[in-house]
């Protein structure tokens, strides 16, 4: 390091700058964070992969010992169809939620970024604040609201709009409940990346479009929408990625109907007949899909999209 620094110093026209080293070296700085993630993030994932191909198995101490490499569990997973169907169901639910709330959030972000309102950051905070409160407690609220004898139904009985013999059933413990709650939880967050992309839009472009005779709608279609598309894609992925593997909300408000892929993974590890190998296959498959999505769309997933504001 020292030698490198010296040669750079000679090549540099302003040597005074190079002498400055107020912080530690790169290995000194990154050693701890990288080691932490290697040991408590990468190695654990490697262990799951190990379980999925039977290099490790339930109850073993380190080392393959009597466990041999086999792709049997992967073969079963890909051929039985049960788990893949469940995965597809979860993907569809998650897609529907993500698309719906991106569509809902777009006008919100548009209003904040382009209406010229003076209080846009206050309004943005108003929108985001619920996202920063307890996840489980917001699920709790919907459980209280949606139950057969819950707030919504009892309100209708009380006001006589609906008889107690005929409640709106299926509100709670259904696929609908899972998607409603997931949408409710993620909606504020989705507005953020869209807001950031609209906020950075050069209004001069819209004025130019207008001067050249484009209507507002045309300007929106040809200028605003294409330029905000990266934010829209990012928003979509920010919801879609965490919700495919969701298991908390479906286990609280989903019932049998709202059971998702994530619940299956948990059950394979926690119920009376744990099958860690199959569970690991399911987990690695999910991780693979997520990593693939992230890589394909990585140019849209800029960190600045969640830090601005």
């Amino acid at each position: 390091m020292a030698v490198e620094a010296r040669t750079e110093q000679l090549a540099e026209p302003r040597p005074r700058r190079r002498r400055y080293r107020p912080s530690m070296s790169v290995p000194g700085l990154l050693g701890l964070p990288v080691a932490w993630l290697a040991v408590f993030f990468l190695v654990p994932i490697g262990i799951v992969a190990g379980y999925s191909v039977n290099l490790l198995s339930f109850g073993s101490v380190f080392g393959p010992a009597s466990h041999g490499f086999t792709l049997q569990a992967w073969h079963d997973f890909l051929h039985s169809g049960v788990y893949l169907r469940l995965f597809w169901k979860s993907v569809k639910m998650s897609l529907l939620v993500s698309i719906a709330i991106v569509v809902l959030a777009y006008p919100l972000a548009y209003y904040l970024a382009l209406s010229g309102t003076k209080r846009k950051y206050v309004l943005l905070l108003l929108l985001i604040a619920p996202f920063l409160t307890s996840y489980l407690l917001r699920v709790l609220a919907w459980k209280v609201i949606l139950g057969d004898n819950g707030v919504l139904n009892s309100f209708f009985f009380w006001t006589g709009l609906r008889s107690p013999e005929h409640p709106f059933s299926q509100l709670l413990y259904s696929r609908f409940a899972v998607m409603l709650v997931l949408g409710y939880i993620w909606l504020p967050f989705v507005a953020l990346p869209i807001f950031v992309s609209l906020e950075s839009l050069d209004r001069g472009l819209l004025e130019a479009a207008s001067d050249l005779g484009a209507s507002r709608l045309t300007a929106f279609r040809k200028v605003t929408l294409p330029l905000s598309l990266p934010g829209v894609v990012a928003a979509f992925l920010f919801v879609f990625i965490p919700t495919i593997g969701e298991f908390v909300t479906p286990s609280l408000v989903g019932g049998a109907n709202g059971y998702m892929y994530g619940n299956q993974i948990v059950d394979l590890f926690e119920t009376g007949f744990p099958d860690w190998q199959t569970g690991s296959v399911l987990a690695i498959f999910l991780l693979g899909v997520v990593v693939l999505l992230t890589l394909v769309f990585s140019r849209f997933l800029q960190p600045r999209q969640v830090t601005a504001g």
């Binding site: 912080s23 548009y110 709790l140 987990a283 600045r304």
Partner: protein, 270 residues
């Protein structure tokens, strides 16, 4: 003429915005209303005002100990995450080195991993290594998932801080530690506080990962989850919900105001 929105368009969007805000806050208001309701089952019609449920949860020792456990876990893990976050942010912002892309991808990757996968992966690690589950295993997991948030908060602020200030201190004879403590850290402080609060609240609220690696000592979300599945003392939980949501809304707003004030002041100085 406004090029982005017609007058009517702005009105419609404003109404829509208001509608969504109502939708977002209505469930929280429902909780607030029913936390003061006498009946043991939250349903209309309302049956009278009471503070009973608040009294009851204040004397529920299981609940209180879970809140305490979560506070401890959150306090420790957020200190850890912020510490690692500061180191990472300085390396990524102040240094150019080979593999920056790979390193920052690794440091931010916990953002996209499904928590169910990470939770069970940690469980398998501790199982394989023979480490018993405890609040420390939860702390370890929470540091991993909150680290990327702290980096994302710290990096932009660090980029704004003028390197020449650090150079000046160094030229005047301050050592590395002195320069960091008396120049960089005070300038970075607003972001450090934001990062700490984000890490703290994330950890305090985290259920998915904790559910895999928690020991016998339940954290608040673990307690809450059990209470939600078997809602025998629902009104009490609703009362707690109101308190926790109020506190977190208060913290969020206070932090945001504090950050803006601090940044404006520092901006004026710089």
């Amino acid at each position: 003429m406004d090029v982005a929105l017609s007058k009517n368009g702005a009105r419609i969007l404003k109404a829509f915005f208001a509608l969504v805000v109502v939708f977002l806050y209505a469930p929280i208001v429902v909780l607030l209303v029913f936390s003061f309701n006498k009946a043991t089952i939250p349903a209309f019609p309302l049956s009278g005002f009471t503070l009973h449920w608040y009294h009851e949860f204040l004397s529920n020792s299981e609940l209180k100990s879970s809140l305490k456990t979560s506070a401890i876990v959150a306090a420790i893990s957020s200190v850890g995450a912020v510490f690692l976050g500061i180191l990472s942010a300085i390396a990524l912002v102040r240094h150019r080195f080979r593999g920056t892309g790979a390193v920052s991808a690794l440091l931010l990757s916990p953002l996209v991993i499904p928590y169910v996968v990470f939770g069970l992966a940690l469980l398998l690690l501790f199982h394989t290594a023979g480490i018993p589950r405890s609040i420390f295993t939860v702390v370890i997991g929470h540091i991993v998932i909150t680290l990327p948030y702290t980096i994302l908060v710290l990096m932009p602020r660090l980029q704004q801080i003028d390197v020449t200030l650090e150079e000046a201190a160094y030229d005047l004879g301050a050592g590395r530690v002195r320069t960091f403590v008396s120049i960089t850290l005070p300038l970075l402080l607003p972001a450090v506080v934001s990062a700490y609060l984000i890490a703290f609240t994330t950890s305090f609220d985290e259920y998915a990962v904790a559910s895999f690696v928690v020991g016998t000592q339940a954290t608040f979300p673990i307690y809450l989850y059990a209470a939600l599945r078997f809602p025998s003392n629902l009104p009490q939980v609703i009362a707690v919900a109101v308190v926790v949501i109020s506190i977190s809304l208060f913290v969020v707003i206070a932090a945001e105001i504090g950050r803006r004030v601090a940044e404006r002041r520092l901006g004026a100085e710089g």
